[in-house]
């Protein structure tokens, strides 16, 4: 209704968006890298642990999965420094939050992957005299990785989208860049159209690339 699209101002401030997109990707990559470590350690621990440890790990997983990410982001950035004497930048705080967040989802992914490793493979490992540690490294984890790779890709793409929540603590990622242009130029429809396209293209490009990796990984063995 009388709204004329004008993208000039968007292109003039496009560095806010391109830089933001790179930061979003960076946040997602660092977070999932830490999250994978958390997820792997806890999943391996979970499947061999007693009741108490299982209970604690399950509590962590269920807590994170059932609380909004934005609340966790606030809690770590505004809440935690009031009770423990630490100082960190918004960016560090967000990465820590997203790592813990992805860790909780990945524990579940890896745990079900470990449980799906065929019994026969583990027995075969035993039969050729592998120690439990060798069985884990050479038998269980590689098979688990192949089973969980698609779920891992999906988690990564959804984390990439979740990085938008970093804008609430002023981390200058893509959504923050969108808001900046929104408030400073009022080219509202244009900026969100462009940002939507950027999220979509990046997301689907990632999906495509990760599916290629999965296929390569399946045939390489």
């Amino acid at each position: 209704m009388g709204y004329t699209l004008n993208f000039n101002l968007i292109w003039r401030h496009f560095d806010k968006l391109s830089g933001g997109l790179l930061l979003s990707l960076e946040l997602a990559v660092i977070s999932i890298a830490i999250g994978i470590v958390i997820g792997l350690v806890l999943a391996v621990w979970y499947v061999s642990a007693g009741r108490v440890v299982r209970g604690v790990i399950a509590a962590y997983v269920e807590f994170i999965r059932n609380v909004p990410l934005i609340l966790l982001v606030y809690l770590v950035f505004y809440g935690l420094p009031t009770v423990v004497d630490i100082a960190y930048s918004a960016q560090t705080s967000f990465v820590a939050t997203l790592a813990l967040y992805s860790g909780a989802y990945l524990v579940e992914v890896f745990r079900s992957g470990l449980e799906a490793v065929p019994r026969g493979q583990i027995d075969a490992g035993k039969a050729i005299g592998l120690t439990p540690w060798q069985r884990l490294i050479h038998v269980r984890l590689p098979t688990m990785m192949r089973i969980t790779l698609p779920a891992l890709s999906n988690t990564f793409i959804s984390l990439f989208k979740d990085t938008s929540v970093a804008s609430v603590i002023s981390v200058p990622e893509l959504t923050y860049g969108a808001q900046w242009i929104n408030f400073n130029t009022f080219r509202i429809v244009e900026v969100y159209l462009v940002v939507t396209a950027m999220y979509l293209l990046t997301g689907y490009a990632l999906l495509f690339a990760l599916r290629l990796v999965e296929r390569w990984y399946r045939t390489a063995r």
Partner: protein, 216 residues
């Protein structure tokens, strides 16, 4: 500290009620819209299928936060004026609708082809096939993930606090602004969200186990 928080409890309760109200609206509206679009995606003519597919893939491909800002700031720019509450409900409903569409598609696709062929063979019309053969079976596949997905609506509703709507998240931030008791209040808020969502995910798991015994 406890006194200050106790004083704020009625205010927090109002915020919590608003969170539940937004979630409920979103869940009901998206269920209706999602079923209509989902049936369109599975059985509709090609242009409709394409339209629903593009809608669903676009919505699921962008962050909910971007969707919320787009609707909230974008609609007034093109001359559509909604109260911020309804803009938030609309944005979350769009997001949830895309999910419901996919749950429905998955549930219907899991019903063996033979079922609808058999229904056709005994002369049931399209509507009868859906009502008596496909939907009753697909329902069992649809319900557990859908209930689990309600938690996404509850969690997503926390983002409407950014539009100045006093939901639980916003109420907590406001009380912290006045009392400086950040940690206890964030934990209280987390526990409230947890209570709602955990109950939903338990219900989902129960149903899934129960329906797992019924095989086609």
């Amino acid at each position: 500290m406890l006194g200050k928080i106790a004083y704020a409890l009625p205010f927090l309760a109002q915020g919590f009620a608003l969170t539940l109200w937004v979630s409920l609206l979103v869940v009901v509206l998206s269920l209706i819209a999602g079923i209509i679009l989902g049936v369109g995606l599975v059985y509709g003519p090609a242009p409709l299928r394409w339209a629903v597919r593009i809608f669903s893939d676009t919505i699921r491909g962008i962050p909910i936060l971007v969707l919320i800002f787009f609707v909230y700031y974008g609609l007034p720019a093109v001359g559509v004026h909604l109260q911020s509450f309804w803009a938030a409900v609309l944005a979350l409903t769009l997001f949830k609708t895309a999910q419901v569409v996919e749950y429905l598609r998955g549930a219907v696709a899991s019903i063996p082809k033979g079922q609808s062929e058999a229904a056709m063979a005994i002369g049931l019309t399209f509507r009868q096939r859906l009502a008596y053969v496909i939907f009753p079976q697909a329902f069992r596949r649809f319900l557990p993930p859908w209930i689990n997905g309600v938690t996404d609506a509850v969690k997503g509703s926390a983002l409407v606090s950014l539009l100045g709507i006093t939901d639980l998240m916003q109420a907590i931030n406001q009380v912290i602004g006045r009392t400086y008791e950040a940690m206890p209040l964030y934990i209280l808020g987390a526990l409230l969200y947890f209570a709602v969502n955990y109950a939903l995910s338990l219900a989902s798991r129960r149903l899934e186990q129960r329906f797992a015994f019924i095989r086609e």
